[in-house]
Amino acid sequence: MNNIIELKNINYGYSSSSALKNINLGIEEGDSVAIIGPNGSGKSSLLKLMNGIIFPDSGEYLFRGKIIDSQNLNDKTFLKKFHKSIGFVFQNSDSQLFCQNVYEEIAFGPRQMQFSEDEINSRVRDCLEMLCIDHLKHREPYHLSEGEKKKVAIAAVLALNPEVLVLDEPMNGLDPRIKRFMKELLIELNKAGKTIICATHEFEYIGISYYFA
């Protein structure tokens, strides 16, 4: 069992209600997983937990065998490596885009990784082509349509080349054409070796599903 992500007896709750109760989950590298369940069932909390934004009240979260808790993430080097390994696409694309144009948005990650200007250029170009948004590269993310914003957000996260891609309801608010595009993209990414984890209501393209009540 070579689990890249392992959750053991995770409990996480707000003051009155418990969002996550006794969660046990193992995801292998290269899996394609859907987390499905009604609104309010704790899907978003689970995804945030997997990305180290929140920490469980009890239980353990292991990524590649290393415990992810607030103590370990205090080590800045470990923290950055962790965030590079697992990419998170938010449900709301607006809050995810904060640069002045699409090019800069996608270049943000590679710039942090201290790529040379040529490498950045090449990486951004690849991402733009993959998501078919090359014509948007000078545009401001703020003025794009929902579907275009979602593509930019995914491109910006992919630019980090994470091993795991976590998406929170990626199909929300997208028209059927873009939905089809996304589904094919995720299948391709999975084939290339990426572990895909989606909180979603639509799971035709997913291999394994975990139901949340």
Partner: protein
């Protein structure tokens, strides 16, 4: 630069509140002229934005980070009158609903942050734009506007603090509220706002840079809308000159200050008060004068007390005014230098 309660006497707070009432009244009137009464509730969203701006921790070149007020930015984006209202509401909610304090000093805080900063910043920004018309200059102009505005507000706060020991003393001549006079409060406020000013400048110029790239048409200051701000600027200029004098004049009416009593304690002050104003060397005020110990007779016996700021006198106020003007000139010189450094540092984002 929020002033908490009890460092300023209630009398000072009342005066500052009284000054703000006409400012608020005019601001509300002007805002209602520009937007219909139906849209007035939406000022709440601007106030929410103003409130949240103060929550961010902003890094500056050099390694440190701090919080900004953002009032200059809001004045440039929305206009100075809406900015006054938005920042006032944000300060009210901070004080009352989040228990941050500053209820009695609300008037003073609004004066410093919701009146001085937006109007001074807006004035500097729009007038510098008339002189330096280049596109690249806009970043520098915004930085300077933010920097000077907050330092000006810091000066006002320093005066508000510094005159407390002057005006509000007990029978033994000891300060009742903020115990540090102008010679301490002015340098303290200015030095601490050297960094805060940079944060303010970074925020003002940085956010404008972003909005200019993404959605430039919404910036109020760039829209060329001509509103008559002259009365507010005149009021502001008058405040710069009159604040210390006005506060002292009202303070002497209330302060428990008897010239006769003072005569026994401090050698130089009575002579100055009786002779009137005397121009003293401005720099002298910024030396931390070491107060001297004297024996003072009070009803309960002989008490060893300290003459706080033995050289403090009304002449210090004149000295402050001169130093303020000199300080402003010095700031402008420093920022011309800084602007040339900034110009080299800030290159437009690389586009393909």
């Amino acid at each position: 630069m929020h002033i908490p309660d009890n460092y300023l006497s209630p009398q000072t707070c009342a005066v500052m509140g009284a000054i703000m009432i006409p400012v608020w009244t005019v601001a509300v009137k002007k805002v209602k002229e520009e937007i219909t009464a139906k849209k007035v509730p939406l000022l709440g969203i601007s106030a929410a934005f103003a409130f949240l701006l103060m929550m961010f921790n902003v890094p500056i070149p050099g390694g440190t980070s701090a919080h900004a007020v953002g009032a200059t930015l809001i004045a440039i984006l929305l206009g100075p009158f809406p900015a006054t209202i938005a920042v006032s509401i944000a300060l009210l909610i901070q004080a009352l609903l989040f228990g941050d304090g500053g209820i009695l000093s609300f008037g003073a805080n609004c004066f410093n942050m919701a009146f001085v900063i937006p109007f001074a910043g807006y004035f500097i920004y729009t007038n510098l734009k008339k002189i330096w018309k280049g596109e690249k200059d806009e970043i520098v102009i915004a930085f300077i506007a933010g920097y000077i505005a907050i330092n000006l507000a810091a000066m006002f706060a320093a005066v508000e603090f510094g005159i407390q020991p002057l005006l509000f003393k007990d029978a033994a001549g000891l300060p009742l509220y903020c115990p540090y006079g102008l010679s301490v409060s002015i340098p303290a406020m200015l030095i601490s706002h050297l960094i805060a000013g940079i944060v303010e400048g970074v925020v003002t110029s940085g956010v404008l840079l972003y909005i200019r790239r993404v959605s430039p048409e919404i910036i109020h200051a760039d829209s060329g809308k001509k509103t008559n701000f002259k009365p507010m600027y005149i009021l502001l200029a008058a405040m710069i000159v009159l604040t210390p004098i006005g506060l002292i004049a009202s303070g002497t009416a209330w302060g428990e200050w008897a010239v006769d009593e003072l005569k026994d304690k401090v050698a130089t002050v009575p002579a100055n008060i009786e002779k009137g104003f005397r121009l003293s060397a401005p720099l002298q005020d910024y030396n931390l004068t070491v107060p001297s110990l004297t024996n003072v007779t009070v009803p309960s016996g002989v008490v060893k007390t300290l003459n706080m700021d033995p050289k403090t006198s009304l002449s210090d106020i004149i000295g402050y005014l001169i130093s303020a003007v000199a300080g402003a000139a010095l700031l402008l010189i420093i920022f011309r230098i800084l602007s040339s450094i900034l110009k080299k540092g800030k290159e437009p984002a690389r586009n393909e």
